[in-house]
């Protein structure tokens, strides 16, 4: 079973994503901020991590850096899912090593297909 970690501080959004990916046979892990995510990643090596950027404590960028530093996670795909949609933000995110940059508000179908595509590649 494919594993996905969803990192976001907005419970209502997390709920929709959790529901969707569970329905698509993903093992879903939820973190409310970067530090929780890193805790989870110590014991789980997921196929995909879905990261929000603006979160309390440890934000998305910092989390991504920590992931990139972790050799165990070298095969894990990282996807930003954020409301920040300026060209400069996107550039920054991809430069840091994110595999995809998706913006909010999003279409559930599109998210699912993007993630599947990413895992397949």
């Amino acid at each position: 079973m494919k594993k996905i970690v969803i990192v976001d501080d907005e419970p209502n959004i997390v709920m929709t994503l959790e529901y969707t990916f569970k329905k698509h046979n993903f093992e879903v892990y939820i973190a409310r901020d970067g530090s929780e995510a890193l805790e989870i990643l110590e014991r789980v090596v997921p196929d995909v991590i879905m990261l929000d950027i603006m979160m309390p404590k440890v934000d998305g960028y910092q989390t991504l850096k920590a992931i990139k530093d972790n050799n165990q996670l070298k095969d894990t795909k990282v996807v930003f899912l954020t409301a920040k949609n300026k060209a400069s933000d996107i550039e920054k995110g991809l430069k840091l090593g994110a595999d995809k940059y998706l913006t909010k508000p999003f279409s559930i179908k599109k998210i699912v297909s993007e993630i599947n595509e990413l895992i397949a590649s």
Partner: protein, 896 residues
């Protein structure tokens, strides 16, 4: 005493003077040579044999009329600080070496004017010198016991040899350098020494006569008061005599500035300006001491000798007749000192004038230009040497031929009256820039004509023929033209009368023609320089307006002719360095022209310097208007510079303010960007939730569990509420901060307002089991918008409830009256606010990074809105952590 002994004494004394002068030249930098006292004593060259012997003659025959001659300088002394200092500054800047140079430079290096001034000085001073020689000769005869001795020829007249010795002295120490504006330390020092000698010995004889021959001043006075004409000797002779006094004082006032020897010692030989400060009180003191005993020696002479013809030599005769030959010799040496200093300084000054303003500009320039530098220097020195000898010899000849009948006093005054003709061009020229050269020449000549007719002519006729015809009846028997009583003014003494009319005519001509005839641009240029020389910078090289073409090399050639290669090179290097010009500068500018003229002025006089320099440059005529414009501009530039500096400071300040404002704007702009970003983000969050949930519900294949479906619907509702709350808050905040919201200010009781809020929040607090305490019962009225204050209170209290621990939480609301303000506080016992967040909590969308809780429901605008509301009430809001735990929010509202 034999002639030979006396002559040996004279030789020894002169040798001593040579020695002093020599030592002073050797140590010319020493402070013993350069100090206020030496300067003051050198000014005392004013006191000649006239003072030493002549005053006593006047005092004996006509009472206190000798005094005005000293009152003029005493009155002038305090003015030195202003007038003489200005003259010294100008002279130093332009290397002026005589009064002729000074006046001719003022009127645009006018060659003829310089010559005319020289002639005026010669006319006045040569007879004056001859009178000094006469005094030496007569005192020599009195002192020598060979009473039958009468000189039969020039060769066995001791006075002739003495005159020659004086000429040698003046030549030796006066022509050491070609530059006449250089200091003559040796001569100055010897003059200072002689000033001490003459004053000391005069005081000796005064004390001797008054206290040894007589029984003190009262004794002389009481004995004298029994004589017939005593009253006339101690009074001024009423109203008319007063005018005599006035004019004589004016005369001597001018003389102290204008006499060539005074100009020499006070201006040319001045080493430091500050020496003037001491001189302005020491010099009058010197004159006072000199005059203390004059009247008593005169009266004592009248009482014991009684021979009015010999009154001038009472000081010598009194000790001699009482057998005190030693004192007589001292008196003789004192008088001799007075003579030497006058003769040496006057001849030196005159010789400079004669060479620089008469001989060189009118004959030798072409020769100099062709000749070799070393030979030029020698020629210039020789011209001066010959001048010195010539002047002394002419003076001697004058004495031999004319002066037996003349008194010291009358010739002295005549010299003063002639010299006074320079006064209008000198004094008015210093302070009035319109005075022109032509007017000066007309004025001086007209004045001289008057002096000649009213003073010299009748005097000469009287002396030579003994005829009183002209004086009695006037020219062609026209009464109004009587020389001593022109137009019926018959109450003045001849010198005062001549002074009055000549100066009247002179000033009238000077002023009238100055107004009528404009000077050329160069004249006006120097006029402005003289008149406006408030400080040195006004006199710098840049002060000359000059336009034209000139090559440095050409000018250099001329300079070398007179200064020699080494000095020229040095001077030019200095000049280029001073103005930061390259050493190989090709074209000369106005500054170099001015600088070169100055360099030459010391050696050959200002008129010649101008002629020489203009011979190698192609000068363009500058119009008077242009000169005035340029001068005006340079004056304005100074004023403008100051203005510019002020403006520049102001601009710098403004620039800084602008920079700050710009930074502030950039900050505001960035804040606005951030605000919009944040707003967008905050709006997107609920929309994302709503959109995703809606999509899930729409695509529902009926396999969604009903409880999840319910939760999704609930979430949607929540997000919608959040969205509308957010929009409402944003709009509200914008309105408040732009001041677009009108406050509905009314008088309210704060207790009621707080109670209202507490009531509305009671349920929320109760749900979390947090205590909300409002126990203050006092009624405090203030004016505010109640709805808005309820909004603030709601926000503060609901924040407190949110951040308090459930069950343990306790919130206290209180208020008090404090110094014109109503102060309301909301205190909780939560975990407080991290100190690093404290400064930002009232900023919009600021949420503590360290909030370890679920995202608060707030919009991030609550406290910002509170702040805005309180500030719109002219109040203040703050937050403060309590010492133990929790935070207190408070706000103050002013009573209206």
């Amino acid at each position: 005493m034999s002639n030979y002994v006396l002559f040996i004494i004279i030789i020894i004394y002169l040798a001593a003077l040579f020695f002093i002068a020599f030592i002073a030249e050797k140590n010319s930098k020493s402070k013993w040579v350069n100090n206020t006292i030496v300067y003051t004593l050198s000014l005392a060259v004013y006191c000649t044999a006239w003072t030493y012997y002549g005053s006593i003659g006047i005092a004996a025959n006509s009472g206190i009329n000798f005094l005005p001659i000293y009152l003029g300088p005493v009155i002038a002394a305090p003015l030195w600080i202003v007038v003489l200092r200005k003259i010294i500054r100008i002279s130093k800047q332009h290397k002026i070496s005589s009064i002729a140079d000074f006046i001719s430079l003022r009127y645009g290096n006018h060659r003829f004017l310089g010559a005319l001034v020289t002639i005026v000085c010669l006319m006045a001073i040569v007879p004056y010198i001859s009178l000094q020689l006469k005094a030496v000769s007569e005192t020599f005869q009195i002192l020598s016991d060979d009473t039958s001795y009468v000189s039969t020829s020039v060769y066995d007249d001791s006075t002739f040899y003495i005159a020659l010795l004086l000429a040698v002295f003046a030549t030796f120490f006066g022509t050491q350098t070609t530059d006449a504006s250089e200091k003559h330390k040796g001569i100055v020092m010897s003059v200072a020494f002689e000033s001490i000698i003459k004053l000391t010995f005069f005081l000796f004889v005064g004390i001797y006569v008054t206290y040894i021959l007589f029984d003190g001043t009262e004794d002389i006075y009481s004995k004298m008061s029994q004589s017939e004409n005593f009253k006339s000797l101690i009074t001024i002779d009423g109203f008319e005599g007063g005018f005599n006094w006035l004019y004589t004082i004016m005369l001597s006032f001018m003389a102290i500035f204008l006499l060539p020897r005074q100009f020499q010692v006070s201006v040319v030989e001045n080493v430091r300006e500050k020496h003037l400060k001491g001189a302005i009180w020491m010099f009058p003191l010197y004159l006072l001491l000199f005059n203390v005993f004059v009247i008593f020696i005169a009266w004592a002479g009248n009482l014991t000798i009684g021979n009015a013809d010999q009154a001038e030599y009472y000081a010598l005769l009194l000790p001699l007749q009482n057998g005190n030959t030693f004192l007589s010799v001292l008196v003789f040496l004192g008088g001799f000192s007075a003579v030497i200093s006058m003769v040496v300084v006057a001849t030196l000054a005159l010789s400079t004038m004669v060479s620089n303003n008469l001989v060189i500009p009118y004959g030798f320039l072409d020769y100099f230009v062709k000749s070799h530098p070393e030979r030029n220097a020698k020629y210039i020195k020789n011209i001066r040497r010959i001048s010195i000898f010539s002047i002394i010899i002419i003076a001697y000849a004058f004495y031999v031929n004319f002066s037996f009948e003349l008194s010291l006093y009358s010739i002295g005054l005549m010299a003063f009256v002639i010299i006074a003709q320079l006064a209008p061009s000198f004094f008015i020229g210093l302070f009035w820039n319109r005075g022109s050269s032509k007017a000066t020449i007309i004025g001086i000549i007209a004045g001289l004509v008057v002096v000649f007719y009213t003073l010299i002519l009748p005097f000469s006729i009287q002396a030579l023929t003994g005829s009183e015809e002209l004086v009695q009846n006037g020219l062609n028997h026209v009464k109004v033209l009587r020389p001593h009583a022109l137009f019926g003014i018959d109450f003045l003494s001849p010198p005062a009368h001549a002074f009055f009319w000549s100066l009247l005519v002179n000033v009238f001509c000077y002023v009238t023609f100055s107004v009528l005839i404009k000077g050329n641009y160069r004249e006006r240029n120097y006029a402005e320089m003289y008149v406006d020389s408030r400080n040195y910078s006004d006199l710098q090289d840049g002060a000359l307006v000059w336009k034209g073409e000139a090559y440095v090399a050409e000018i250099k050639k001329v300079l070398i002719k007179f200064l020699g290669e080494a000095r020229t090179e040095r001077a030019l290097n200095l000049f280029f360095r001073k103005y930061d010009l390259p050493l190989d500068t090709q074209m000369a500018d106005a500054r170099l022209i001015n600088f070169s003229e100055k360099l030459l002025t010391g050696s050959i006089g200002s008129a010649s310097a101008k002629i020489l320099i203009s011979s190698v440059v192609k000068e363009d005529e500058v119009s008077l208007v242009e000169v005035l414009k340029i001068l005006e501009e340079s004056k304005e530039t100074i004023a403008r510079n100051k203005l510019l500096r002020d403006k520049s400071n102001e601009l710098t300040k403004l620039t800084n303010q602008l920079k700050e404002a710009n930074e502030e704007l950039l900050k505001k702009d960035k804040q606005k960007d951030e605000f919009l970003d944040t707003v967008a983000h905050e709006l997107k969050t609920p929309i994302t939730g709503i959109r995703a949930t809606t999509e899930l519900l729409m695509d529902d294949d009926d396999d969604m569990p009903p409880e999840i479906k319910g939760q999704f619907l609930k979430n949607m509702l929540q997000d919608s509420d959040r969205l509308s709350r957010l929009i409402h808050n944003i709009l509200d905040f914008e309105k408040l901060s732009k001041g677009r919201t009108q406050l509905n200010i009314q008088r309210h009781n704060i207790r009621h307002t707080i109670q209202k809020t507490v009531d509305s929040l009671y349920h929320i607090a109760d749900k979390k089991q947090v205590k909300l305490i409002h126990s203050n019962l006092s009624d405090v009225y203030a004016e505010y918008d109640e709805d808005r204050i309820v909004q603030v209170l709601t926000n503060l209290m609901s924040n407190a409830i949110k951040f308090c621990n459930a069950k343990k939480g306790k919130i206290v609301v209180d208020y008090k009256y404090d110094k014109g303000f109503l102060e309301v506080t909301v205190k909780d016992n939560g975990k407080g606010i991290p100190n690093q967040d404290m400064p930002y909590i009232f900023d919009k969308f600021y949420q503590s990074k360290n909030q370890n809780i679920q995202k608060p429901e707030g919009s991030g605008l609550g406290l910002a809105i509170c702040k805005q509301i309180v500030e719109n009430h002219n109040g203040k809001i703050w937050a403060k952590n309590s010492q133990k735990s929790g935070v207190t929010f408070g706000f103050k509202l002013p009573f209206k």
